[in-house]
Structures are given as C-alpha cells and as structure tokens.
C-alpha cells in the first residue's frame, strides 16, 4: 500500500526584544542563573504584567511577512499548569484571539514549489529552565528565560514529506532573520520546533492517527526524526497495527524516537482570558506603519537576484536563504559585478570552508565582501590564477588579511613575463625530448604534460594562458 505523509509543525521563535514580554528584565542569554529576574517574572505575590509593545510589533512583522490576517482584537489568555519552571503556575499566552491567522509561505522541496498554510501565530512568554544535578537527586531552577517573548507559529497539516518540513523550517527561519526579530539559534533554543505527523493511504481524505515529535534541535534532526517516524508508522500500518496517539521524544544520539511518559502530557490547561491584561486593539494604521518597516523578504530578493542580476533560480535560492548571506553577496557584487562568478565562489569555496549552517551566519566570516571582490578581480586581471586564488582564499579565511597582502607575503604573483617563462619552457623541452618529438608528430595531448611540468616548476604561478602559447612557439622552433 502507498501512504501519504501528513505533517504539521509548531515553531517557537524567541523574539529579539531587549526586555522581556511583561517586565523590564533583559533577555540576554548566558548570564548567571536567576540574575535576569524581578518580582514580576518571578511571580511574586501581588505583581502584575505590563505588555511590551515591541513584542506585538515583532509579531505583526512576522504576520505580514507570512501573509497572515492580523486580528483587530488581541487577547492574552492564561494556560494553567504546575511546573517549577513556571513561577506563576500559568503561562501567559493567546488562545481564541491570536494576533494572526490564515497565512502561508512558499516552500521549495523535491523540485516543487508548494504553498504551506499557517493556521495561526500567537504571542506568549517563555518558561524558565530546570537544571538537573547529575550527582544528587536535586533540580535547580533558572528563571532567566522566564518571560522572554515567543511567537508560536502553527502550520496547517499541509506538509507532505520530511524534506518539505525541513524546507518549511528553513523558510520560516530565513524570514525571521530577514525581519531581524529572532536570532534563530537552535542550539540555544531561540528557534524550536515540534511536529505532528501521520500517514494515510494515498487517496484517503481523513487523516490518520498522529504522533507528536519533540526535542529536535536542528534542521537535520527534524528531518531525520520525521523520516524515522514515517518508517516506523509505515511499518506498523503495513503490519496491520494501529498508531497510538502519543508524544515522542527524538533521541539524536541513537536516532530513534521514544514515548514520553503519559503523566507528562496529561494536561487540561484551563485557558481563560487573563484579567490582568487589557485587550490589545490593532488598528489598520498601526498595521500599515509596521508594513512600511518590512525589509525585502527572501522570496522577493530571490526574484530580484534572478531578474536583475541574471542568476539561475537555484543559485538565487541558496544566496537568499539567509539575510546575511544575501547582504554579503550584494556587498561584494557592488565591487565585483559578475553575479554568476561571484555566486559560484560563495557557494563553492566559501561554503566549503564555512561548512553547513555556519554559512548562514556569514557576518562572522573573516573575509570581508570587499576582500572577496578584490580577490576575484585579481583573477580577472591575471595577477593570480584561479587555482592560486583558492590558496589565497584559504589563507584569507584564516588570517582575515586582504588578498594583495596574502599574495605579496606568499610570493604568489602570477608569472606573466614571457622571457622568464620562455627560459623555463625551453629547459623543460630540452629535458623531455621524447615528449617533444611526440608533440611535433601531432600528439597535441602531450601539451597537458608540458603545462603540468611548468606549473610544478613555478609553483603554479605561471600564467596558464601564456604557457600554452609559449610551448607551441618553442616546440615549433
């Protein structure tokens, strides 16, 4: 039997506001435990929350960037449950009047572009963190994260493959970063994802029984966990067994999912409107004011890269996948207006050295866009060969020096002096009479051998264009 995979994702994105959502404490990461706290976020008796307006504006930005309808009336609700990382005994979230609904994003996967629907986006506060002592049966609570603003972005069950799920996540991640409202750090938990997944026989309308996947802290893990779960569900269904609706935790070390203890998920959150916060009214004028602040978004930028810069679709998609990378590209392009060649360098050389997801944060790259442009210009001018340029680039990535300095320090300037090269060419011909004879008899393939010898002797510095020409000349004599 053929099955269709049905996936819906819930993404929690921490917003990059300076202060928390309901108090003035800083949102900075990495401070000593319980130092970013005050009576309000500690849930002391008698204190009250006051909404940080920037949170609403950031959420509005995301809503607009994902084609959502923004609700004119926003209400916060209390989600009640007991846990030591939740000082008030409830989380302030949104329930039946979220800030945004009915959006969509376009996602490319498996050679297809599909529109994935967003059910809703809502604002809420983050909980604290429990730190478990390995040596004794004790747990400590760090409430620095308590009250850090989050938006939860809930997709429709529109996603049809683990690959598409990963692409959807990358798209949301890119949009959040373009908007500069979330730092997107999955390791530190500022971008988190839970998934709902079910299978159904192809052609069937009703959804199958779903499981919920948690604890996937990278794009790769999300895809791997979903792939595992597709296999697991398919095997069960083919064996005639039923899927149990449950919450599963991804174990990234063993590459399996494990069921959460049912006690941990049996919750009735008893949502009700938070009487401490008045409804937030969002006017059309406010929406328009926020819309005016939106930067160019990934899809628009990609389109522009294709139409104006003449980049192939795929290249444009990669280069616009993060705002920093696209900014980097454009800064280099301003000095080196050969989009295709520049793009190739970025995608092959730079990404090879920066490896994987690091490349998304190219702002940390030791090579400035100006220096990359200068390096490419040196190739075009014949100062260095393309091959030497790669060596120079590697050095630039280590030291951060400009290409001229690296070339000078390492003595890598291309040999373009005809007399100088000719002297070596003649030596090589003299030392290899057999190959010279073959060439003269018409075996032009031997040219490769001669050029190779030349490069070997000059350490690759001989101008490859000149090399051919001079050998032909010398061999013809």
């Amino acid at each position: 039997m053929e099955f269709e995979t049905v996936i819906g994702l819930e993404v929690h994105a921490q917003l990059k506001t300076k202060s928390k959502i309901f108090c003035g404490c800083t949102t900075a990461f990495g401070n000593p435990p319980n130092t970013n706290t005050c009576p309000v976020c500690l849930g002391m008796p008698g204190v009250l929350p006051v909404l940080n307006k920037t949170v609403v504006e950031y959420a509005m930005k995301m809503a607009l960037a994902t084609n959502c309808a923004i609700g004119p009336m926003n209400q916060f609700a209390r989600k009640n449950y007991f846990y030591p990382d939740l000082p008030k005994g409830y989380q302030i979230s949104q329930f039946d009047l979220p800030i945004a609904e009915h959006g969509w994003v376009e996602v490319e996967a498996g050679g297809k572009t599909r529109r994935i629907g967003l059910t809703r986006i809502h604002m809420e506060e983050d909980a604290g963190k429990l730190i478990h002592d390995e040596r004794e049966p004790k747990s400590y609570v760090d409430l620095n994260r308590t009250g850090v603003p989050l938006i939860e972005i809930v997709s429709e069950p529109d996603i049809r493959s683990p690959e598409e799920a990963a692409a959807y996540l990358r798209k949301l991640h890119a949009i959040l970063r373009y908007l500069d409202i979330c730092d997107g750090n999955m390791q530190e938990g500022s971008f988190r994802c839970d998934a709902n997944i079910s299978l159904r026989p192809v052609g069937q309308k009703e959804f199958g029984t779903r499981t919920e996947l948690k604890n996937m802290n990278s794009f790769k893990n999300v895809q791997k966990a979903l792939e595992f779960e597709v296999r697991r569900q398919r095997d069960r269904l083919l064996d005639g067994e039923k899927i149990t609706q449950e919450t599963l935790l991804w174990d990234a070390d063993r590459n399996v999912t494990n069921a959460m203890r049912s006690k941990e998920e049996a919750h009735d959150y008893r949502y009700f409107p938070d009487p401490d916060l008045v409804p937030v009214v969002i006017t059309e004028a406010w929406i328009e004011a926020i819309r005016a602040t939106l930067p160019e978004l990934p899809d628009d930028r990609k389109r522009r890269f294709v139409q104006q810069l003449g980049l192939p679709e795929d290249d444009a998609a990669v280069l616009t996948s993060s705002r920093e990378l696209a900014d980097y590209f454009e800064a280099a392009y301003a000095r080196y207006p050969n989009a295709k060649k520049l793009g190739n360098w970025l995608m092959t050389e730079l990404m090879r050295l920066m490896k994987g997801e690091e490349a998304l944060d190219i702002s940390q790259c030791p090579v400035t866009p100006e220096n990359l442009a200068a390096l490419l210009a040196m190739i075009d001018a014949g100062t260095i060969s393309g091959k030497i340029a790669k060596t120079v680039f590697e050095e630039m990535m280590v030291s951060g020096k400009d290409p001229e300095t690296v070339v000078k320090e390492k003595g890598l300037v291309q040999m373009s002096d005809q007399g100088e090269i000719m002297a070596i060419v003649k030596e090589i011909i003299a030392a290899n009479p057999e190959q010279a004879q073959q060439f003269r008899e018409g075996k032009t393939k031997v040219m490769g051998f001669f050029v190779g010898q030349l490069m070997k002797q000059t350490g690759g510095k001989a101008n490859p264009g000149l090399a051919n020409e001079l050998f032909v000349k010398a061999l013809g004599e």
Partner: protein, 484 residues
C-alpha cells in the same frame, strides 16, 4: 475626645495648628490598641516601633513645611497589600514567611502623603469570606458586640477603624469585602470604580473584580483617603488614566438635581425588616436633602451570586497557583517528589474556604465545563452590566441595603458556606460591573448592631456617591456614637 477617636480631617486641623504631634497621636492609637486589641483581634501584625519612627518622620516633615494630605495619620492596612519589609500574610499560612521586597502602589502613595503605617489588619484568607472567620491568625470581633462577626473579608480593617485602633484603613473589595464589614461595623467604606486605584502589590484574589479602597470613620475621611490612593499606575494595565478629582469638593449642603434609583430587587424576600426600615429612613433623609427618587429594576441581580461564585473562584484558582512551595512561602520539606511536594504544601498551607474555591474554580475552567460555567457566567456578567447601564440612564445613584441582615454571631454560619455566599447578593453585582459602591452608616438594629446604606454609581461617578453619603451623614445623628 481622645486623639485615637478622631477623624483624619479633625486631626489634620490639630496637627496643622501644632496643637498635637503625630508622635502623640500615634502613641494614643498604640495605647488604644493595647487596651482593646485583646478583645477585638483586628491586627495580624503590629509594627509598633516603625510606626513611632514614621510618626517622628512625619512631625519633622511638617516642621519643614512639607507633608501630604495624610501627614502623620496612623493607618491600618489590610494584610493583602504588600508592605516593603513588613510581613504580609493575606491571612494565610501558605505565605509564611513572606516579607515583600516592594510596596504596593497604594502603599507608596500613602507614604508619599506622609501616612504612618501601624500594621497589617486581619482578613479572610486571600480575601475569601464574608465574616473574617477564614483567617489563619484568629478571628477579629465586631467592636459593637464581641460575640458577632465584624464582616469580611476586610474585617480587621473595619474592626480597627470602629474600635479606634487606627484612624482609617485600607481594604480591598472583590464582592463586597469593604462595604459589608463597613456596614457591620458602622463605618464608611468605599469600593472605587474598577481601574480607579492600582492593584499593583495587592495579592490577587479575582483580578477582574478586586479593587482597593478606604474604610474610614466618616465620609470626608473616605474622600481624603480615596484621593490619596487613586490614579493611573503604569505597573497596572487595568488602571485607568483619568484625572483624580478632589472628592472633598463634592461634599455639599444639598442634593438638588440628584435622582436616586431604588432597585426593587434589593428589597426582596429575606431582607431583615430592621435593615429595610433603616435604609428606607435613609432614603427619606436623602429626599429631604433634595434628591428625587425613582424605582429601578435590575432584573439580573439574582444571577449575580451564581456568576460571581464561578468567575471569582476561576480567577482565584489561577491566581493562587503561584503559591506552590517552590520559591517562597510554606513548603512541606518532608516531601521529596515534586507532585507530592505541591500536594502537601498546598493542602497544609491553604485553609478550607480557599481550597473550596480553588476546586470550584478549577472545575469551572476544565475542558468540557468551561462553556457551561465560566463562559455562561461571563455572559451573565454582560447582562448585569447592561442592567446598570439602563438604570443609570434614569438615575444618578442606586440606593439599597448593603447586607440582608446585621452581623451574625461568630460561628453561626461556619458550616453553611452557601448561606454566607447568598448574603453577598447585595454587593456582588457592583464588582461584576466594575462600578463604585459605598456603605455609609444609616442606623442601628434593636440589638445594637450597625446597619449600612449602599450607594452605587456609574463608572468614575464617585463624587455623586460622596455627595449623597455626606448629605445623609449630616442628617443622621450617628456621629460620635462609639462601640466601646
């Protein structure tokens, strides 16, 4: 009369003229406390030394020509308001020990005005109760008859004012908790419009209903106190940014041009005839002062108690979740498993009535019951708001009894919470609609217990209440009548 028996405005005259000092006054009040507190039990915590130091500070301020409207006036504070450095219990064991590192906004305001804070007044645990019998620190008595309750939940505040153990007090009113004990103790108590006074630092019972207000010896004092504590607070999103009038300016000679509505539902079956008689007499005095009367109907009044006892416990079940033994307050240290620690700490820390309301509220919000209870109650609330809107298109004030009967005997209703809930029927709708309401004395029962008259007005129309209450007070010969 001795100093502790005087009003704020009388004492301000004496202080201003330099005839007395705040230190003398505060000593007089502390002496009074020493004399009667054993019987009345109005305080949970007395801050004697600090009170004297504050009094000295106030005297120095006054010498420098500074000091606000309450400079040097000794007050008691309901123990539900956070006082920096001074134990705050909310009448509960669960907070033991909790010493707030911050003042409630109203306390900050009182300090700015130069008030002397004597200590923390008794109350029903987390303001849940109508007799102050649900307190982990003892039951205060009605100064008029020590065998009777003083009302609740601001019972200690009312008793301390009536027994002259302070000059005035701050309480909080969620369903009548200022007005009802004020009525039972023969003093003035006003619950302001929701949003008039900041709730920051008030330990929440039911956030959409709670409001802080004064309990005082007369109407003018209530006007002075309310002005001192009112105003927008950026720390409370539900406080309203509206100018605070000088309420004493509303106190005048007559009530010409004022229409008072008499809601027939407030004079129904179950009303003690003596109470009805006293209130009707009060209405007569108001008309003598120039007010016109009109009969009004508030048809949804009878559903108020039911709606209140869903909404308030629902909010309470959530508001009280923070008392979990993790960060402060009481914890059962014998428990080493999280759920058991929660269960035992909360079971031992909270009293019976609080647990009852947490359970009711939790149930009302549970999935599958939300629509039938919480949502329905919210709809009733809207109907009650509409009733009032219609009423206030026909009149300026609503006049009624505060309670169906004078204060009952201590212990009489302890096993019958439902009849206690039902006794709140005349005060609850005010909170559901967020309106201001006052209890002002209007007579005494044959057994010598005070009877109050309730005045309700539309949002932010406290001045009308003060005007009518003052006119009534002037025409009644109750002033100077002391319980003990």
């Amino acid at each position: 009369m001795e100093l502790h028996a005087l009003t704020i405005h009388a004492l301000q005259d004496l202080l201003a003229k330099g005839e007395i000092s705040s230190l003398e006054l505060t000593r007089s009040v502390l002496d009074r406390i020493d004399a009667v507190e054993d019987k009345v039990r109005a305080y949970i915590t007395l801050d004697r030394n600090n009170a004297l130091a504050q009094a000295e500070g106030a005297d120095e301020q006054r010498k420098r020509g500074e000091g606000g409207s309450l400079c040097g006036i000794p007050l008691s504070i309901k123990d539900v308001l956070c006082t920096k450095g001074l134990r705050t219990t909310a009448g509960s064991k669960i907070l033991e020990p909790f010493i707030p590192p911050y003042d409630a906004t109203v306390i900050e305001k009182l300090r700015v005005e130069g008030a002397v804070i004597l200590g923390k007044a008794s109350m029903d645990e987390f303001a849940m109760g109508s007799a102050n019998e649900n307190c982990a620190y003892g039951v205060p008595k009605n100064p008029w008859n020590l065998a009777h309750v003083c009302g609740g939940s601001s019972g200690g505040s009312a008793a301390s004012v009536a027994a002259d153990e302070c000059i005035a007090s701050l309480g909080s009113d969620t369903g009548g908790s200022i007005r009802q004990p004020a009525s039972h103790c023969g003093i003035v108590g006003i619950k302001p419009t929701y949003g008039r006074v900041s709730r920051f630092g008030l330990l929440a019972y039911a956030s959409s209903l709670d409001q802080v207000g004064p309990l005082t010896k007369d109407v003018r004092d209530a006007a002075i106190m309310l002005k001192a504590i009112s105003g927008y607070d950026p720390r409370d999103s539900t406080s309203v940014n509206q100018p605070v009038p000088d309420y004493t300016a509303a106190l005048g000679a007559d009530l010409n041009g004022l229409t008072i509505g008499i809601p027939k539902e407030y004079f129904g079956a179950g009303l003690d005839p003596e109470v009805e008689q006293a209130v009707r007499k009060g209405i007569g005095l108001l008309t003598e002062a120039g007010a016109k009367t009109v009969e009004i109907s508030l048809p949804h009044t009878e559903y108020g108690v039911a709606a209140y006892y869903i909404i308030a416990p629902a909010e309470a079940s959530s508001n009280l979740a923070r008392y979990d033994g993790v960060r402060y307050g009481f914890r059962d240290h014998d428990q080493h498993e999280l759920l058991e620690m929660y269960r035992h700490s909360r079971s031992q820390g909270f009293g019976e009535e609080v647990k009852r309301r947490i359970i009711i509220g939790t149930y009302a919000l549970s999935s599958g019951y939300y629509d039938a209870y919480y949502k329905k109650a919210s709809q009733v609330r809207t109907l009650i708001v509409q009733d009032y809107a219609k009423a206030f298109s026909q009149c300026d004030l609503l006049v009624s009894p505060v309670t169906p009967a004078p204060a009952w005997k201590i212990g009489e209703k302890i096993d019958d919470p439902l009849s206690v809930y039902l006794s709140d029927i005349l005060t609850i709708c005010t909170n559901l609609a967020g309106l201001p309401g006052m209890s002002v004395p209007c007579g005494m029962s044959s057994s010598g217990l005070p009877i109050g008259l309730q005045l309700q007005a539309s949002h932010f129309a406290e001045e009308k209440i003060f005007r009518a209450a003052y006119a009534l007070e002037q025409r009644l010969d109750l002033a100077g009548k002391k319980p003990m």
